[in-house]
């Protein structure tokens, strides 16, 4: 009896150790590529970083040096336009799906469309915006690039907002309604507020994803070797600049491309962290 129990204890301890080791291994497998990519970027790109990179625009072909200042500004403008479209439309759609349209045919149709849109290749999105905006306007523009990024953000923002709103307990909705608060107000002031940390995460995911997109910009923002902050003209973007430089035959441009990739990642992480910090400042002690 006692022997048998001892054996069972040992098997249990062994299983426990094995399961913990497997979980640890899985974590390493998930994190390793991220660490590896970042380390390689630092190794390849850090040496080419200089003040010039952040304050100068690309030099003409044949000249050494130059930077990507215009591409950093361009990416910021494109992402601002994209977020201005993708975040409100996406959150609005998510609120409709979770709070007002639950179970209706329209909601099911919207959810299906959002999922399909999420699967559309980004180059197709670029071509779609090309024919919808660029051709009628007759020129490439920062605006059309921002629209392409914005449309790509919508499904991610919309579906995460819906999921997060559905996680808000019904008891919280009932509490608001039982106080005589109108439904629309309860949704905005209580339900959305309760779900806001998750909704912000969804927005940041979408933002980080489109920040690195090149394909939808090729037919829309086009790229620009000079300063431009106009929504009506072609504009530079970090991913586009990296793409062009990486495919070029010049070693100097290759180095700048590596530096650009490093800067892009750091800027995305910085933007996401900043939003998280700002969003977390108002959170109270013990809030769940």
């Amino acid at each position: 009896m006692r022997e048998e129990r001892k054996l069972r204890d040992r098997i249990r301890a062994l299983t426990d150790g094995l399961a913990t080791a497997l979980a640890l291994l899985a974590t390493i497998v998930v994190v390793a590529p991220l660490v590896a990519i970042f380390a390689y970027l630092v190794y390849k790109g850090a040496s080419s970083l200089s003040l010039d990179f952040f304050i100068k625009i690309p030099k003409p072909v044949g000249e050494l040096g130059g930077g990507m200042a215009n591409a950093i500004l361009g990416s910021a403008i494109l992402l601002a336009v994209g977020s201005a479209i993708g975040v409100p439309v996406g959150i609005g759609g998510g609120i409709f799906l979770a709070e007002f349209g639950r179970g209706t045919r329209l909601a099911n149709a919207i959810r299906f469309t959002a999922d399909v849109l999420n699967g559309v290749p980004s180059i197709v999105m670029g071509i779609a915006v090309y024919s919808l905006i660029v051709i009628p306007q007759g020129h490439f523009s920062a605006f059309s690039g921002g629209v392409a990024l914005g449309i790509m953000m919508i499904p991610t923002v919309c579906r995460t907002a819906e999921e997060m709103l559905l996680m808000v307990p019904n008891a919280v909705r009932e509490a608001a309604l039982a106080l005589g608060v109108p439904n629309w107000r309860s949704v905005l002031a209580i339900t959305v507020k309760t779900a806001s940390p998750g909704i912000i995460t969804g927005c940041m995911l979408a933002f980080a994803r489109v920040a690195g997109e090149t394909a939808p910009l090729i037919f829309t923002a086009l790229g620009n070797q000079f300063w431009s902050a106009s929504l009506n003209e072609p504009i530079a973007a970090l991913p586009l600049q990296i793409y062009i430089y990486a495919l070029s035959p010049s070693d100097d441009w290759h180095r700048l491309a590596w530096a650009g990739a490093l800067v892009l990642i750091v800027l995305i992480v910085a933007a996401v962290s900043l939003v998280r910090y700002v969003a977390s400042r108002g959170v109270l002690k013990g809030a769940s």
Binding site: A171, A175, A176, L177, L179, G180, V181, S288
Partner: protein
Amino acid sequence: MGVGIEVANLNAWYGNNHALQDINLNIPANHATALIGPSGCGKSTFVRCLNRMHETNPVARATGTVRIGDLDIYKDCKPVKVRRRVGMVFQRPNPFPTMSIYDNVCAGLKLNGYDHRQALDEIVEKSLRNSALWDEVKDDLKKKSGASLSGGQQQRLCIARALAVDPEVLLMDEPCSALDPVSTSKIEDLIFQLKPQYTIVIVTHNMQQAARVAEKTGFFLNGRMVEFDTTHKIFTNPSDKRTEDYITGRFG
């Protein structure tokens, strides 16, 4: 001040399930009325019909007349107006998790557009004192979330939140079923203090609780109200055999 509630021919459904059948009763003003009965007998559905929360369920429907004071709540007005006059406390404490204690208490006022700051301060203090929570939270009003309190404190916070909109009726749907005995006795004391100003309807599974706090008691069974009388009569000399069987523990 509390007002009386007159219920006539109230029927309620969830889809095809006829959950309440021909309920008629008069709930007296400024008293506590307890509703008892086995699970699924319609007590909760009944109180949810008194503030039109029943119809927030998409498949639910109700017919009949409910008069709260001089207001026929299914005929004269919108649900929002009814719910401002009829406060509700739920089975599980449900404070707003992202709001401070202070904001939880004045949520009903603020969300209805009332923002006179000094008046809000006074109302918050008064409501928290009325719900016997003031001394425990007065130092953390705006620092702590409503969700950081213990279960019993959360329930008293929910009572304060309901009182802050100055209702005439307070509905309590098993307010102590998720609480320990100490918190339960605090809430029962509270019901005694609140009675002179509010009409209280309390659903409970605990028959001792009904006997302790309520002047009148109604016994529900299978969607019907079997008996409604003074609490003393219900527990000592019920007229219906089924009531007697239930309170003596022969079923349910």
